[in-house]
């Protein structure tokens, strides 16, 4: 079981807390999924004034580990400031680092990401960087002090699943000992299972659960899929092949015609 900065959850679903119909439904989704970590985005305007207290209390009352994130930040400075505020509000040095480079795809600005990761790691943060499946960028993030990498499956909120399974597989092979989490783009439990079957250590998602017709049931479905995928990876799947390979020997069968 992979450890994320020393924390080894039984259930590696990282569940986002935005866009639910209500905080009560969010709490039910967390409970039914058994998620042990939730991510929370921090609006700087609320952090500065403390006006978001009521919602943050609800998050803390979920009784799970909180991974604050810098969602919506576009520059190194914004991301660093937001991370520092999040550390104060939630009393944790964990931070999901998101630096957006392009507004339509919400694609990470990997250059700014590496810089912000270095600043925050040097400042004692445990950084979970939202990145692409680029292994060179991944290496730079590790050099900057990250001990976890979180490549995207597809653009945030798109629900498209794994756009580049080849790239994700390469990343897994290239960083065999680094905890890897697919973050963003997951739409269906089968997408999450697929990532886990590739050997990923966790799944971070939000929209696919929050915007489902029944978020709590969908959260549970994801937890089951993640468990299935992880079990399948550990069980060493067979290789796909082009020709049929009968599971029962045909030699020696009686001819009936």
């Amino acid at each position: 079981m992979a450890a994320f900065y020393g924390f080894a959850p039984d259930n590696p679903l990282f569940l986002g807390t935005a866009q639910y119909p209500s905080p009560a439904i969010l709490a039910e989704a967390v409970r039914r999924s058994g998620a042990e970590v939730v991510t929370v985005s921090l609006r700087r305007e609320s952090a500065g004034s403390g006006a978001g207290q009521a919602f943050w209390s609800l998050i803390r009352e979920l009784g799970v580990k909180v991974l604050p994130n810098t969602a919506g930040c576009h520059t190194v400075k914004e991301a660093v400031t937001t991370a520092q505020m999040a550390r104060e509000v939630f009393g944790t040095d964990w931070i999901k680092l998101e630096v957006i480079g392009e507004d339509d795809t919400l694609q990470p600005d990997v250059i700014a990401l590496v810089e912000a990761a270095r600043i925050l790691s040097d400042d004692g943060f445990k950084v979970f960087p939202y990145t692409t499946e680029d292994i060179v960028v991944g290496s730079r993030l590790l050099d900057a002090g990250c001990e976890v990498l979180m490549p995207w499956g597809a653009p945030i909120g798109s629900g498209r699943g794994l756009n580049n399974p080849y790239g994700l597989r390469t990343m897994r092979q290239h960083f065999p000992d680094i905890p890897l989490v697919v973050d963003a783009g997951i739409g269906l439990p089968s997408h999450a299972a697929q990532a886990m079957e590739l050997g990923y250590d966790g799944i971070l998602l939000n929209t696919a659960v929050a915007k489902a017709g029944d978020p709590a049931a969908m959260a549970e479905a994801f937890a089951l899929a993640i468990r299935a995928g992880r079990l399948a990876f550990a069980a060493q799947p067979i290789e796909a092949r082009d020709m049929a390979a009968p599971s029962t020997p045909v030699m020696g069968k009686a001819f009936l015609a």
Partner: protein, 340 residues
């Protein structure tokens, strides 16, 4: 007690002259109670988040994210408002999305009912100024809207006309009020006694334009920033509203302003030339399930948590509050009893 009033009349004090406080006052007066409303503000709407409401009576659209009671209870709103305040416009709601966000339209349709799919020609028929701008939409023909400021002013007049009293500039401690029953309708100000209550900040704009006319609320779907525009008299348009987990009641952020104006501009470029008449912000009171509650604690009943559904749910909540006040044996569905 005066000679003209029967001695069995119940004395009810209402704290808060926002939309639900006034609706409760009207409902109780109609059923024979004596009602005094205490409002901390200097006039109707001065301190009420309902002042910044959209005024959409759209139970089926709200079903996209709200739970079943909102859809069901909201269906009594349009007739109630027509009867008690007038000014209800029954022209439905039009939901549109840019072609690249067509998936949002499908999702909205899957979560809601009581609509028909409309194509570009039908959209142009409903809203001629939107001709050629959207090729797909959903039309909720049975929905309605009103001007919330006119509506609460009309309710306040009705309270007075029915013999009720409204005391402005009267900030009260509901439990200390001398009345047979106290309805605490103070919204977010009741957090001291309803610790589960939280604020969800909303920001809105009022624009003025003579270049565009709309007949009904338009909801513009977008995966990140769904917004709506409600036409009002005199070429005014209410553009709303953000939903931010924050109890802050004032100050709009530049980001929210961009989002609101961006939505208006995406709906129709003519809004780029519109005058910004007003910027409004306040926080909606909400419980963790985002559903309203009657919370009974001895002779005080807290009516709160109407969230973004003040005008949609006040009629039903006022009906239930009146039931709970006048017949202690009744158990309206949204009632929670607490030890006194």
């Amino acid at each position: 007690m005066t000679a003209s009033r029967p001695s069995h009349e119940l004395d009810v004090a209402v704290a808060g002259a926002g939309v639900v406080g006034l609706a409760c006052a009207v409902a109780l007066l109609a059923r024979g109670a004596r009602v005094t409303v205490h409002e901390r503000g200097a006039h109707v709407g001065a301190e009420a988040c309902s002042w910044y409401a959209g005024g959409m009576l759209a139970p089926w659209c709200e079903g996209e994210s709200a739970e079943e009671p909102v859809v069901r209870l909201g269906q009594e709103a349009a007739a109630w408002w027509e009867r008690h305040a007038g000014g209800v416009v029954r022209r439905g709601t039009l939901v549109v999305a840019p072609s690249r966000d067509r998936a949002e339209l499908r999702r909205f349709g899957e979560r809601t009912s009581h609509f028909e799919d409309v194509d570009g020609a039908a959209i142009a028929g409903l809203e001629p100024d939107l001709a050629g701008r959207f090729s797909r939409g959903l039309f909720f023909a049975e929905e309605a809207h009103l001007d919330p400021r006119r509506a609460i002013a009309a309710l306040a007049e009705r309270v007075l006309a029915q013999g009720g009293t409204i005391r402005f500039g009267s900030e009260v401690e509901p439990a200390a009020l001398d009345a047979g029953v106290v309805l605490d309708c103070r919204g977010l100000a009741a957090r001291d006694v309803l610790p589960e209550l939280r604020g969800v900040k909303g920001e809105m704009l009022i624009l003025k334009s003579d270049e565009i006319a709309l007949s009904r609320p338009i909801r513009l779907l977008h995966p990140r920033i769904p917004l709506y525009i409600v036409p009002r008299a005199g070429g005014h348009f209410m553009v709303g509203a953000t939903m931010i987990e924050s109890g802050a009641r004032r100050r709009i952020s530049a980001r929210s302003m961009l989002e609101l104006l961006g939505a208006a501009y995406a709906l129709h470029p003519a809004f780029a030339e519109a005058e910004i008449v007003e910027i409004g912000t306040d926080a909606r009171p909400a419980f963790p399930d985002n559903l309203p509650r009657l919370t009974r604690r001895g002779r005080v009943i807290h009516v709160n948590g109407l969230y973004r559904h003040g005008f949609l749910l006040s009629p039903a909540m006022a009906r239930m509050a009146a039931d709970a006040v006048l017949d202690p044996h009744l158990r309206p569905e949204m009632l929670h009893d607490l030890a006194a």
